[in-house]
Symmetry: C2
Subunit: 271 residues, 2 copies
């Protein structure tokens, strides 16, 4: 079975797409073709979007599905007139919340999706610059870091730091364990001084080999022996220092970032 899905939003449509994807994957065997219609923030654009849905409906001879995060009820009504199955993300929440809080919601197109806020923007950019300048031990001064990730090369530190910065505005640095650290089995004193902000990442040696092999094919660095040695020594070290450890082997970047914040008790700085 095939179905067409439209993600319609007055913002980027990323939220609509994420939610729609979560729900639709629960219907196995249906082949969904998806289209994102972002920035539908005027009556004209709502009409255009509805036309687009209507055309699709006629072309395929079946009823399209719309996942809608347009906040304005008038615009949503226009889109609903296309005849699609409307799955409205916000609508089901409004009446219960209005009743619970004893007030009407204020209707502000786009606002829900975050018009840019200079302070938030700056906090993201600063955190991103921080991650870039404190990546891979470039600058080993971690005084301003909120999180310092420790792990062997290619264990997932860099993308996690960048995700923490871009998503949550959190300054995260990372420190790759050196052969010297692994041999001595101790962390450098400058890191131990920041113990409460350290978080260790580990990875299955077989998986690490794959990752390193695709990066530096045929190198000693990518051999299973080398990967096994580094991971074993690193894990011993983490245990000795009682650092919180997470394996990135079966964990997505979102999950890694989320678990780090939970473990270290850090709140995200922005939305």
């Amino acid at each position: 079975m095939k179905r067409t899905v439209f993600y319609i939003s007055d913002g980027t449509g990323i939220t609509a797409e994420t939610i729609g994807h979560s729900v639709l994957t629960q219907f196995e065997g249906v082949e969904f073709t998806t289209t994102r219609l972002p920035f539908v923030d005027s009556m004209d654009k709502a009409r255009e979007a509805a036309d687009r849905v209507r055309h699709e409906s006629e072309a395929c001879g079946c009823r399209p599905i719309v996942v809608n995060t347009v906040v304005d009820p008038e615009m949503s009504r226009l889109i609903a007139e296309s005849g699609a199955l409307m799955l409205d993300v916000f609508a089901p929440f409004i009446a219960p919340l209005e009743q619970e809080l004893g007030m009407k919601r204020q209707n502000r197109v786009g606002k829900a999706h975050g018009l840019v806020n200079f302070q938030e923007y700056e906090s993201r950019i600063n955190a991103t610059n921080y991650a870039l300048s404190h990546d891979d031990g470039i600058d080993p001064n971690f005084n301003e870091a909120e999180v310092i990730l420790v792990g062997v090369s290619r264990s997932g530190k860099t993308p996690t730091c960048l995700y923490l910065a871009l998503h949550f505005g959190i300054r995260a640095g990372n420190y790759p364990l050196t052969p010297d650290d692994l041999e001595k089995g101790v962390l450098p004193p400058k890191l131990l001084a920041q113990r409460q902000r350290l978080f260790a990442l580990t990875i299955d040696p077989m998986r690490l080999r794959q990752v390193r092999e695709s990066r530096k094919p045929g190198s000693r660095y990518a051999t299973l022996d080398q990967c096994r040695y580094e991971v074993t020594e690193a894990e011993k070290l983490f245990k000795r220092e009682r650092l919180p450890v997470l394996s990135t082997t079966h964990t997505s970047i979102e999950e890694i970032a989320s678990k780090i914040l939970q473990t270290l008790g850090i709140q995200r700085h922005l939305f």
Copy 2:
């Protein structure tokens, strides 16, 4: 008025938090205290979460609000027994979709939020490495780029490239316009050869001055005159080359990324 909000999820809780934030900002004047309870993926954890909500309810003497993205109906039922106002993100979609598609949904905890998929993971990591190695003109070979951002220094190219990589798995490089490019008023031939993948970013000179000043205080680079000159020449160049242009001054990174994909007709590679 104060209210406590819990974001409860069988995954990271990031989706619940994003949606909840969008809805709650529509109720001005209420002060919401929020807590994220991620990875609620067993009956035991659901019971724990419900207890936590119940305690909060007793402590504050008011009814907490729960934004719930736990997929499993049994676990959601347990959480609902806490007595909180339940705002369930997926539940309102299930019955209409089951009816429309003529089938029952398959219930899979965690799956909705994307257990890690090695191929997706690799595509994100490769795209992130690409962005890092093709940032700021480090490697001017853009043959493998899907998007090439062009703009003056500090116009928002780097965070946008990283966002495109981490979020969508898209390989984006960026090219900072040099004094030479601005003076001659032409783009280097290697860029023009990739014309259909070029996207230009611009920025208000006053805002640019702020950004550069906080980066390099007191430098000529950060003077309003210099910022004005560079932006004026860059915009002339973009116009002459008929590049798609977006101003980043009042645009969030999500919006910039989303508009680039829309303009260049690129679909996101992953969720």
